[in-house]
């Protein structure tokens, strides 16, 4: 693995929206060639952190440096040449074909009057072949499945040819095999020297593929390190607010995470009976006589 030098440096930043800071005093470094998984419960501020680092949300305090330069000094164009960003949910209006979408990734490499040349198309093709969607090049974005769609968008970010990639939940909504494939693609990219920071929810996959994991929760970073160091019962229970068990599968060596069930909750059960329209005393459907 190529690891030389810090490419992303985050120091003491607080991020969030005007009246509601989500994260406070967050600091970490990312080295070249690392694949960093950003995990944590919903609403913990993973996306907020990524957006702040990419400059989409204002940096309230602190310092973000990318390749030794403060992000405030970047122009929109410079930033796009350094960092590729895949947002959580992309809505594509109109029937653009997948190759037209991937071509959009070439935008930062063109002057405003230029049009894409053969070289740009070659890169588009290479990116789409790498993510395995070149055979869909002429299909519209509406005509492909969720897994294919995500790989097209990944190809678009790749076509930007940036050394750093920020991916916000690239695997959400995909089936297990597609998820694993996205992780594997990212891992291979890191092996050739790209740096990937991705928000993920699949803890087991993160543990298998990521070289480092950042656990976000309680308004800051709870843990930062390898999967073994971060994915402990104590850390996860604290971050997610439920009691968590972590088990290492003896067959595969993979980590499995699940919650420990609380005791039977009578009030919830009664509510459920009411919703289902079942009489708790007789266990019969209420108003059943009226139905012939």
């Amino acid at each position: 693995m190529v690891t030389d030098g810090v490419v992303v440096k985050v120091e003491d930043i607080s991020a969030g929206y005007a009246k509601r800071p989500v994260l406070d005093k967050v600091s970490f470094h990312i080295n070249k060639g690392e694949m960093v998984g950003l995990i944590g419960p919903n609403g913990a501020g993973k996306s907020t952190l990524l957006k702040t680092m990419r400059g989409f949300l204002p940096l309230r305090t602190g310092l973000v440096e990318i390749n030794g330069r403060k992000v405030q000094e970047f122009t929109a164009h410079d930033f796009a040449c350094q960092v590729g960003y895949l947002q959580q949910y992309v809505e594509i209006t109109f029937g653009y074909t997948t190759k037209e979408i991937v071509l959009a990734g070439r935008y930062p490499h063109l002057k405003w009057w230029q049009k894409e040349n053969a070289n740009d198309w070659e890169i588009v093709r290479a990116c789409m072949e790498y993510t395995g969607v070149w055979n869909l090049a002429d299909k519209t974005m509406h005509a492909i499945s969720g897994g294919q769609r995500q790989r097209v968008l990944l190809a678009k970010v790749l076509a930007q040819q940036t050394p750093i990639l920020f991916l916000d939940e690239p695997t959400t909504g995909l089936d297990v095999f597609y998820q694993e494939e996205i992780f594997r693609l990212c891992q291979n990219m890191c092996q050739v020297g790209k740096t990937v920071m991705m928000v993920v929810h699949e803890l087991a996959l993160a543990a298998r593929f990521c070289s480092r994991i950042l656990l976000v929760g309680k308004g800051g970073i709870i843990a930062n390190g390898t999967a073994e160091e971060v994915l402990t019962e104590k850390n996860l229970s604290r971050a997610y607010g439920v009691s968590v068990k972590v088990v290492k599968n003896p067959l595969t060596g993979n980590i499995e995470v699940f919650t420990v069930h609380a005791d039977r909750d009578i009030s919830k059960e009664q509510l459920l009976y009411r919703i289902a329209g079942v009489n708790t005393a007789t266990n019969e459907c209420q108003g059943g006589e009226q139905v012939v």
Partner: protein, 341 residues
């Protein structure tokens, strides 16, 4: 790629044929060959030298038909292009140039010009007032939508609707205080028409519309990025705000100019880009040229139909575009179901 070339050749052929028909048909028929003979004669070309034409035909062609057709082509092309651009800016297939208050602003301007009696002084006052009115309306819409230096698309659409309503009420208010003759004048203006257009109208429209269209064509690739949405455009390094505002200004200017010289003409800006998107796809480098040619053709086509359907009466082109556009649009809607395709 070959298919595209074929399509554009076909479109250009339609454009030429319909322009020719529009020059030829009317109360006084001028046969095609006489028109071509007149053109060749003017341009000193050695074709059709044996075809004779009367001075009357020449006068009708030069002073009545040609300005009318030219205004139609210009306005139609402008509306087609600005419709495509608006739909792109808002990533919304239902946006059209009227949606951010251009037309309602123009109406207010026009009604003020009529109420103050300026229209009797010179025919240029009403276009001027209409133009100022639309620029005022667009500025108001944009200012209302701007918050912390950002313009969220949805807020912009809503402020456009609100400004439109406000100005509509203002127009109605002024109308109720006017006498019948002035009211008729307004009514006549508000239903867009191409009748009695003169070379002055062509001159008035040609600069802003051709200039605006050229700039839009140059920006077509950038528009493709803008359509993907704010975050996506920023992620590839586009300065979204200046681009959006600039294109918005261009589209408003073209529409305002169009409204100036021919009154409110609906549907062209909505239907034409939509139709073209289904035929050539959403890439603005093909969509914009197609919408420009098709917009001009469609408007002149509607005008010609309106002229020959009930002679000697003329149905105004603003009515015809809606009458022809609505069923076709509904057909498209039913056929595709998914509007965003």
């Amino acid at each position: 790629m070959k298919k595209m070339t074929g399509f554009f050749v076909l479109l250009a052929a339609c454009f030429l044929i319909i322009s020719l028909i529009s020059l030829s048909w009317g109360q006084i028929d001028i046969p095609f060959k006489n028109i071509l003979a007149m053109f060749c004669h003017e341009l000193h070309l050695p074709f059709f030298a044996d075809v004779l034409f009367t001075p009357e035909q020449q006068a009708v062609l030069y002073y009545i038909r040609m300005p009318r057709t030219f205004v139609g082509l210009l306005v139609g092309a402008g509306l087609g292009a600005s419709g495509a651009v608006m739909q792109g800016i808002f990533s919304n297939p239902l946006a059209d140039p009227g949606i951010i208050g251009v037309s309602s602003g123009a109406s207010v301007g026009a009604v003020i010009a009529i109420a103050l009696g300026f229209t009797e002084i010179s025919m240029l006052y009403m276009p001027l007032f209409a133009f100022c009115g639309s620029l005022f309306a667009v500025t108001l819409t944009v200012l209302l939508a701007m918050r912390h230096g950002r313009i969220p698309v949805m807020t912009l659409l809503l402020s456009g609707v609100v400004v439109g309503m406000l100005l509509g009420a203002l127009t109605s208010g002024i109308l109720t205080m006017m006498n019948e003759q002035k009211m008729q004048q307004y009514l006549f203006w508000t239903i867009g028409g191409l009748d009695y257009r003169r070379w002055e109208h062509v001159l008035l429209a040609v600069g802003p519309i051709c200039g605006g269209i050229t700039i839009m064509l140059l920006m077509a690739r950038h528009l493709n990025i803008l359509v993907l949405g704010d975050v996506e455009a920023k992620a590839v390094g586009m300065k979204v705000m200046p681009f959006r505002l600039f294109l918005l200004t261009m589209a408003s200017m073209i529409t305002a100019t169009g409204v100036c010289v021919s009154g409110n003409i609906g549907f062209v800006g909505l239907v034409v880009p939509h139709m073209m998107r289904m035929l050539v796809g959403p890439d603005h480098r093909r969509l914009l040229p197609a919408s420009i040619i098709a917009g001009g053709t469609f408007l002149v086509f509607c005008d010609t139909i309106g002229r020959i359907i009930l002679p000697p009466l003329e149905i105004r082109v603003g009515v015809m575009t809606a009458v022809i556009g609505t069923p076709y649009f509904l057909y498209l809607l039913r056929r595709t179901r998914n509007l965003s395709r």
